[in-house]
Amino acid sequence: MASEGASGGMPDPIHQFEIKRLIPMELFGYDASFTNSSLFMVIAVALIVGFLLFAMRGRALVPSRTQSLAETSYEFVAGMTREGMGEQGMKFFPLIFTLFMFIFTLNMLGMIPGAFTVTSHIVVTAGLAVLVFVTVLILGFAKNGLHFLKLFVPSGVPIYILPLVTMIEIISFLSRPVSHSVRLFANMLAGHITLKVFAGFIIMLLGAGAYGAIAPLPLLGAVALTALEFLVAFLQAYVFTMLTIMYLNDALHPGH
């Protein structure tokens, strides 16, 4: 991740996010090439499915190490779901668990030096956020009919400011997919750029004669940042999942 293009100057911190067409394809006039981004998504899905199948192959009552890892991830997400939506929320567990595992694996894959970070592209995160948003809309109208619109009309508000409040509520609701996707993408993008910039400082300082003596400082920074990025990679997957649960819960019980 750090040292390509070490031609004295700063390595380009954006280079790592470049999309490369691996297998050019076109579908109905659209560019549907198989890119490095697609490749890493396929790797992530293969890893998740492979890991879960491999871990659960024994189905032992006393789990092996891999099996308990799989069980831990199941119980983590199941616990979140039950806490956020109650027992009936477990109907949505497949969606929630898939989202969590997919984002978490993609974030973690991105931490491997040289790997591509799929979640650092807003197209991907926006796609996931819109998926959740549309699910919430469909679910909300299917379960509550037009009562779902009560979400925008809080009770106990004087009639003369009701239009204003409703407007604010609608904007608040529409801002969900935006903040949902921007947060994940921005955190991954900014984190990886910061890492790269710090790593670039090391090379630049080493090439600057006497200043090379302070090169270990950005190295320390890069090490600390790497640890932080691992934390962020997990936290962002967690936050995305938690919000998905919250939004789905709002769709089931509007008018809080």
Binding site: L164, M167, I168, E169, I171, S172, L174, S175, R176, V178, S179, H180, V182, R183, A186, N187, L231, V232, L235, Q236, Y238, V239, M242, L243
Partner: protein, 136 residues
């Protein structure tokens, strides 16, 4: 309960030597049980603490984007309405402010929820999640 408790020779508020020994035994047992329970609690404490801390960090990461997202959406709605109606920049300004209000609303809602969750998780003793030397 022992029968000798109200027996002759022992005044009100006093207990016989046999009872005293039993009493001491019980106090000793209780002390041991209490110590066991305390050490178990101390084992559970860091887990609970770090879970709450992770939740707090998650909320912290959330809030900034909740605010920015709402302002962005408000501004965009206003901008496109202006483009459609040719009333630039008035609707943009109005919706920008509405977006800001929505953002603040998001943050306040998120915070209220966090507060309720932490109160539930700590059973109300916010601020004592970290063990204090003087409590021992």
């Amino acid at each position: 309960m022992p029968d000798e408790r109200n027996g002759e020779g022992v005044g009100r508020g006093e207990i016989s030597p046999a009872d005293r020994a039993k009493f001491k035994q019980r106090v000793g047992d209780l002390g041991k049980q209490l110590e066991e329970a305390r050490s178990q609690q101390a084992e559970n404490e860091p887990a609970r603490d770090s879970a709450i801390r992770a939740r707090g960090m998650a909320y912290g990461l959330r809030m900034a984007s909740e605010l920015v997202g709402a302002v962005l959406v408000g501004g965009l709605i206003g901008y496109f309405l202006d483009q459609a109606l040719g009333s630039w920049p008035w609707l943009f300004l109005v919706f920008f402010l509405l977006g800001f209000a929505a953002g603040v609303l998001n943050v306040i809602r998120g915070f209220t929820r966090l507060q309720a969750e932490i109160k539930e998780a700590t059973r109300g003793d916010i601020g004592h999640a970290v063990p204090d030397d003087e409590d021992d």
